[in-house]
Symmetry: C2
Subunit: 408 residues, 2 copies
C-alpha cells in the first residue's frame, strides 16, 4: 500500500484516542486515495513517551495536548525540521499563529488546524480556499457547543443558567471547569482565527471584545420565546472601511437569520460576501470523534500535498465604533413618569425605540425595550445614565439584537 508515513501523536486524551481509532479504521481508504499509509510511530502522553525521540521517528506531528506550553515549543521544533504539523489547539493558533505560520513558511513545512475551530465542520478549509475567489466581509459563528447547549436548554425548559450548566456537565457537554466556554474566551480564540483567515490581517486576541453567558436569566429567554427570537452566544468578525472588528457576545436573532435554527451542542458559521450573499456550514461542535475526523481530514490533506499556508499578514487595524440594535431590561419602581424619564434619556443619546412593553406590577415592574441600531458607545452612555435614576430597582441589563438578514 505505497509509502509509509509515520505519525507522532502528542496527547492521548478524548480526541487523541478517537483519532487513533479512526486512523485505524480509515487507513486503507487513505492509502487508496493518497497512495500513502499512515501509521502511529509514537505517542506522548502525561506519563510516558519522549518528545525528541517521537519527533525523530515521525514524518508528521499531530498535536492534541492543548494549552500554550509545551505545545508551542513542540510544534515549533517539528516545523523547524520541516515536518508537517496538525493541531487542534485553538489557543495556540489564535495567540501564536503568526509565529507558527512564519516557521512553517521558513522551513517549507505544512501546518493544518481545521480541528481548532468548529469540530467536524470544514470551515477553515472553506474560508482558506474561498478568499481567492470572493471577498468575505463578515463572519458570524456559533462556535462553542457548550454555551449553545446551555442556552438551548434554558430556552426549552425555562431552567436557570446554573441548572442548565449543571445539566451540560452531567451530559458531557461542559467540562468540570467551564470558564473558557461560558466567558466566551473559547469562542473568541476561534473567531480570531476565522477573522485572520477571512480578512488576511492578524488579530490580537486581546482586541477581541468578549462577553459570556453567565448573566443570562430565564427572563431573557422567556422574552425571546414570546417574540420568536433565539438567544445565541454569537461570534462576529467584520471588515469595514474603518478596519476589522471581532467580538463575542450573547445576542437575540430574529427568525430567518441563518444561525437562528442552530440548537443544542451544534456549531455553525455563516460567511457573507457580496458575490455570494451568504453560505452557512453547520454540524456537531467539538466532540472526540468529530474533532478526530477534522484532524484526519488535515492528515489526508497533508498526505495529498496539501493546500498553501495563510499568506503573510500585517496586524489588523481594529475598528472601535461598532453599532448594534439592543434589547434593554429595566427593573423599575411602579410609579408614574418612569417611562417618560427613560424615554428622555434615550432620546437625548439619539437612541430610537423600536418596541417597549411594560411588565409586572409593584415589586415586579419592568420595562422591556428593543432599540433600533445605534452606535454602541452612545447606548453604553445612555445605559450608564439610566442606571443612576432613582426609580431603578437594579442595574439595567442589555443584550444585542441582530435583525433578520435579507434572503432571497
Amino acid at each position: 500500500m505505497g509509502e509509509k508515513v509515520k505519525i507522532g501523536l502528542l496527547g492521548r486524551g478524548t480526541v487523541g484516542s478517537a483519532f487513533e481509532e479512526l486512523l485505524g479504521e480509515r487507513a486503507d481508504a487513505i492509502a487508496a486515495s493518497t497512495g500513502k499509509t499512515p501509521e502511529i510511530s509514537g505517542v506522548l502522553n502525561t506519563s510516558s513517551g519522549d518528545f525528541d525521540q517521537i519527533l525523530a521517528d515521525s514524518d508528521v506531528i499531530v498535536e492534541l495536548i492543548g494549552g500554550i506550553e509545551p505545545a508551542r515549543e513542540s510544534v515549533l521544533a517539528a516545523l523547524s525540521q520541516g515536518k508537517a504539523v496538525i493541531t487542534a489547539n485553538k489557543q495556540l493558533v489564535a495567540q501564536h499563529g503568526e509565529e507558527l505560520f512564519a516557521a512553517a513558511r521558513e522551513h517549507g513545512a505544512q501546518l493544518r488546524f481545521e480541528a481548532a475551530v468548529a469540530g467536524a465542520i470544514p470551515i477553515v478549509r472553506v474560508i482558506s480556499e474561498s478568499v481567492g475567489e470572493i471577498e468575505i466581509d463578515r463572519v458570524y459563528g456559533i462556535v462553542n457547543g457548550t454555551t449553545n447547549f446551555i442556552l438551548t436548554e434554558m430556552a426549552r425548559t425555562g431552567a436557570s443558567y446554573e441548572d442548565a450548566l449543571a445539566d451540560a456537565k452531567e451530559l458531557g457537554y461542559a467540562e468540570s471547569d467551564p470558564t473558557d466556554d461560558v466567558t466566551g474566551a473559547d469562542a473568541a480564540a476561534k473567531m480570531a482565527i476565522l477573522a485572520r483567515l477571512a480578512f488576511g490581517f492578524s488579530v490580537d486576541l486581546a482586541d477581541v471584545a468578549c462577553e459570556g453567558i453567565e448573566e443570562i436569566r430565564p427572563d431573557d429567554l422567556a422574552y425571546a420565546k414570546e417574540l420568536g427570537l433565539s438567544l445565541k452566544l454569537l461570534g462576529v468578525a467584520e471588515r469595514s472601511a474603518d478596519g476589522v472588528s471581532v467580538s463575542v457576545f450573547p445576542c437575540f436573532l430574529y427568525p430567518g437569520h441563518p444561525l437562528a435554527p442552530v440548537e443544542g451542542a451544534f456549531n455553525a458559521v455563516t460567511l457573507f460576501a457580496p458575490q455570494i450573499n451568504e453560505i452557512t456550514l453547520s454540524g456537531p461542535g467539538a466532540g472526540g470523534p468529530e474533532t478526530a475526523s477534522a484532524v484526519l481530514g488535515d492528515l489526508v490533506s497533508v498526505l495529498s500535498g496539501g493546500s498553501p499556508l495563510p499568506p503573510e499578514a500585517s496586524p489588523a487595524n481594529m475598528a472601535t465604533d461598532r453599532s448594534s440594535a439592543f434589547y434593554l431590561h429595566l427593573e423599575v419602581a411602579d410609579q408614574p413618569g418612569v417611562l417618560a424619564s427613560v424615554a428622555e434619556v434615550l432620546g437625548r443619546h439619539g437612541i430610537s425605540v423600536r418596541s417597549v412593553v411594560q411588565r409586572g406590577l409593584g415589586e415586579d415592574a419592568r420595562l422591556v425595550m428593543v432599540m433600533h441600531e445605534v452606535p454602541e458607545k452612545d447606548f453604553a452612555a445612555a445605559v450608564d445614565e439610566l442606571g443612576k435614576l432613582d426609580f431603578m430597582r437594579s442595574a439595567p441589563r442589555s443584550i444585542r439584537v441582530i435583525e433578520e438578514e435579507a434572503r432571497p
Copy 2:
C-alpha cells in the same frame, strides 16, 4: 504579477457574463494568492467565436454553454490536449462524467465542476475532500432553488402551484420553460453527481427515481403548516448493504431536520457519516453571481495545482427496496365504514398508521393519515388497492415523510 494564464470562455450568458466581471474584479487577489494572472483569451457565444481557435489560444477552458452537445465534444477536445476544464454543466457531468474523468485522467488534465451543484455552496469540494477521512452513508439535498422558492411561497401565502410558479417566473427564480426544475430532473442530475462523489460508484441517471412538485396542492401545505412540518423537494442518496439508491421527491420534514429551515431560493446539502453525525452546508442556489463565484473558485483551485480527480468507479449496485414513512390524503364519500375499510387494506399490507384525521363533510370529506416507515412497494400496493374502493372520490395522493433526525 507572474505568469499569465489564458482562459477560453465558452458561453456568455448570465453566468458567463457574471464570471467575466468577477474575474476582472478578483484578478489581483488571484495573482497574489496563486502567483498567476488569469485573462480571457477568447469567448465563444452563439453568434461569434471559433472553438478551435479559442482552444489553441487557451490554457484553461471554462464551459458555460450548458446542454450535452456541443459542450461534451468541446470539453473532451480540451481534455485530450491536457488542458484544464471547468464546467458548470450538471447534465454533462451527471450523464457523461465517467467519460470526462477518464479523458482527464488519460491526458493528465484537470477537471472541475463545483458550479454544477448548489451554486456558491462548495459541496463538491467538501465531499471530495471528505471521502478519505469519513465514510459518508447518506446525502440529503435541497438542490433546486426554483422548486424550493415555489414551495416556500405556497406555504407562506396559500397560493396554488400555478400561481407560485408564475410568481417565480416573474421574479426570475424560474425560467420560461421550468420543466427541468419542477419535474425534479435538475435535482436528479445534481444528486447523481453527489452520490458518485460520496460513494465512489457511478450512478446512471436513468436509475434515479424522480418525482416533481407539479401535483402538490395548497391542501398539502396547509396540513404541513398545521403540524409544523416543512414540504421540500428533497434529493436523497443513500448507501446501504443492498447498494446505492438515489431519488428525488417532495417530502415532509419534521422540525429539527437540518434541512427544514431552508427557505426560498436557497440550497442546502446535509452529509451524514457515522464519525461526524452530520454537517450541513447552505446558501443561495444558482444565480449568475453565485455560480460565477463557484467557477472562479474552481479556477483558483486549478491555478493552485488543484485537487485530484474522483477515483475510477464501477457502476453502483442500485438498491431497489426503499422504505419510507408516508402522508396519505384520501378524498372519500362521507359514509359509515370508510375508515374501517381503509384501515383493513393498510393493515393487510403491513402498514402501521401513526395518525389519522377525518376532515370535512359530504362532498369535502377526506382522510388525512400519516404512516410509519414501510417498504415502499408495500405502500404502493396498498395505495393501488385503496384507489379501487368504491367510496373514493378521486385518486389517493401520498407524499413521503422524513422523521426528525437525532441531534445532540
